[in-house]
Amino acid sequence: METAAINDIVARHPDAFRRSAWRRYATPIGILLCILYSFYCWWFFSIGIVLEKANWNLASAYLADWVSYEIRPDIEFKDNYLEINYSRFSKLGSNPNPEWVVKQTAVVEQRADAKKMAPAVASDKSSHDSFMAASAPTADNPATLPQQSLPAAPETVRKETVVTADIVFGNGRIAITPKLVTVTRGAQSIVFDIARDKSVTPRTPLPDWIEQRRPGSTAYISFGFFGRAEIQSDEVIAWRRFLGWANFVFDTNSPFWGKPFGEVASLIASGARIDPKRSNAALAWDNIANNAEWQHGDVWLKLLQTIVMAFVGTVLASVVAFPLAFLAARNITPSRIANQTTKRYFDFQRSVDMLIWALFFTRGFGPGPLAGMSAIFFTDTGTLGKLYSEALENIDDKQREGIRSVGATPTMVQRYGVLPQVLPVFLSQSLYFWESNTRSATIIGAVGAGGIGLKLWEAMRTGTNWANVFYMVLLILVVVFVFDTISNYLRRKLMGTVGNGNDERPVRLLPVA
């Protein structure tokens, strides 16, 4: 193109090539303002400082907790043997003996104090058994304990105990003996000398996956996702991480726990009654619903409450907003006073935040779904009323005139002249709110208005139940997606039957009057 031709085009379209200063600079100015505002917020919320202080290791550990669990064996150093304990509510049940803790036992001479004397004779297998047996009699008759421990003259007994323990991690292992701990990760191996109750000393310089804050103090070992461990001067604590959710179906107290699926199925189908009072199927169901770690029954109940809150709240709001919207629409009700009163009432209900309604009704009805559904009902009456009345004000007047011209009563005019036009829009709006209320019902639940929100919040606040949190999140996601699909399908059906054929997507947006 020649210069002359270009100039010609420029001359013919001055507005396209010489735009006003405002139009030319609006975008850069807008972007600049946004950036400036971001800097202001960065300062206002001191985001930089908070991000710096944040405990990111904690974040990755919590995230890992969503889909995995840890088992924590404690290996205590004794004079010439080891004692392995598991936490009291171990996920391995009351008698853990996992294959990733490789033990070697030997008969050794050990000093037995009075506390240990009685069980020492009884125990014969692993040190773990001896521990369980040891704690049992003292728990049974604690009153006898002081008397026993009074003549605590050191005595020696010979018995078989654990002398070495190997904790196998996915990418390494810790070999423990009473005086020596060898940590291996990948190709690297570090040997620690243990002076019992005094110090932990590595023989070689530490790699970056082991941290020791002061010489001789506790060594912190990281195995990445597979877990971590601490070598203290009196014990080794290991956190071994496993992918998955532990005891998701049956907890360790259940007679079905730890059994493979086939065995459980055959027990339920044809096994002898475990509990003589009820069938195995009833027992299994009860065990699942009352699973102590996952609380399935309670979670499902709370989820149902959330669903019910959203459903009832939306339905009631639609039912109440429906007649009020006719009153608020100025083309339906000619009275300005009635229009304005109803509209201001809608505004009021909408503007009082759902949070305030939730607190109000929680105080009135007590915590539970009644409070939540009332909060949703009150807020949405306002919003739906507003949307409905706007839809009514936008109707095509010809149909109404036609009906009126054949001498129909006012009710008939509304029924046949107005309703067919707006009903699909109304229903579509209500469906849309049903869907979005399922989401908001989760949040207001957390302030006490019933449903899964509070349960979710409590599980998070303890900071240890992330797997439960994830479980509930998954349930919520499933419910939201299912309702989303149902509501989308119904809306498409509704809008498909009425005019508006060129719009394939469900109409969710209404033009403002």
Partner: protein
């Protein structure tokens, strides 16, 4: 009698009779569906109401006389107390307790000029909402083009982006807030994170629907002169959709103000936290002041945003629920 004679249809031809019968069948089936649907709805509703009543802490009819307890409990010592609480003026009832220590909360800008505590908290909540809307819409803007079928040819990329937006949108805000609360400790940043992440999903979806409705002629023109993908989007699509994007941004801001208030009430700072604290401690005047401030702010924000949207897109200004 004569009326029925007048309305009686003339005898139909056999073909017309078939059509007529078919129409009657259709109408009957339609009526059946309507009645059936309504019955089902009624059944579900009554079942739900019964269930809700059963699992609630208080029963509906037992608690009905106490429904207004929230406001009855909130009757302040005198009616100037809420005003004092709102503007942090000293109270004559001050006994050193937390209930009447209004001046304690003042945020001093200079030696003598201060912002009353609840105004400051309200500004904090508004900032949370605006900043997270800004962050969310930035990412939503960046993502929406790769989800729009008229801009992105790759089905795989579109699918991934859309699923991502869906998951982010449906993920409960409260979980994101709770997770970041555990990492950052208390403060507004978890709320910002939660609201922003949710906004990415919600606005991303709105944005890509707008983009899909855009006129493709400018794009065609740009393609004809050999513009690359970014140029086509920036010069062909963005100018068309920008007003609608801004309108959605404002709508989202309205929604986010409410969301950040609620998140505040579960421990993420701002006015929501003040409200929850004052209610749980039974501080009437403070509660009234906060509720009043919140009400006014939401009305102002709604009106302002409606006005601005009207200016931006005129009759095209869309409205929809608080939802996503």
């Amino acid at each position: 009698m004569s009326a029925t004679d007048v309305h009686r249809a003339p005898a139909l031809s056999p073909e017309a009779a078939i059509v007529d019968r078919h129409w009657r069948d259709l109408a009957a089936r339609r009526r059946l569906y309507t009645v059936g649907g309504l019955l089902f709805l009624l059944l579900a509703l009554s079942g739900s109401l019964w269930f809700a009543n059963e699992t609630n802490a208080g029963k509906f009819f037992d608690r009905l006389p106490y429904i207004a307890d929230f406001f009855i409990d909130m009757k302040p010592r005198d009616w100037f107390e809420p005003v004092r609480a709102l503007f942090d003026l000293p109270s004559p009832y001050d006994d050193g307790s937390l209930q009447f220590d209004y001046p304690e909360g003042r945020v001093y800008l200079t030696q003598s000029i201060y912002i009353p505590e609840y105004f400051y908290r309200m500004v904090e909540t508004l900032n949370i909402a605006l900043f997270s809307t800004l962050v969310g819409s930035t990412f939503g803007f960046l993502l929406c083009f790769s989800a729009a079928s008229n801009i992105t040819a790759s089905r795989w990329l579109r699918f991934t982006t859309r699923r991502f937006l869906e998951i982010v949108r449906a993920f409960p805000e409260i979980v994101i807030a709770g997770f970041f609360l555990a990492i950052f400790s208390l403060g507004p940043i978890p709320a910002i994170m939660a609201v922003s992440i949710h906004t990415v999903g919600a606005l991303g979806k709105m944005f890509f629907e707008v983009v899909e409705n855009a006129d493709m002629k400018p794009d065609e023109g740009l393609r004809a002169v050999g513009a690359n993908w970014v140029e086509r989007v920036w010069f062909g699509i963005v100018p068309q959709v920008l007003p609608n994007f801004m309108s959605y941004f404002l709508l989202r801001f309205e929604i986010n103000v409410r969301a950040s208030t609620i998140l505040g009430a579960v421990g993420a700072g701002g006015i929501g936290e003040s409200l929850r604290l004052s209610i749980s401690r039974g501080h009437e005047a403070k509660t009234i002041a906060i509720v009043f401030l919140l009400l006014c702010t939401i009305v102002v924000v709604d009106q302002f945003s409606a006005w601005l949207r009207h200016r931006l897109v005129g009759r095209q200004a869309f409205t929809y629920g608080r939802g996503e």
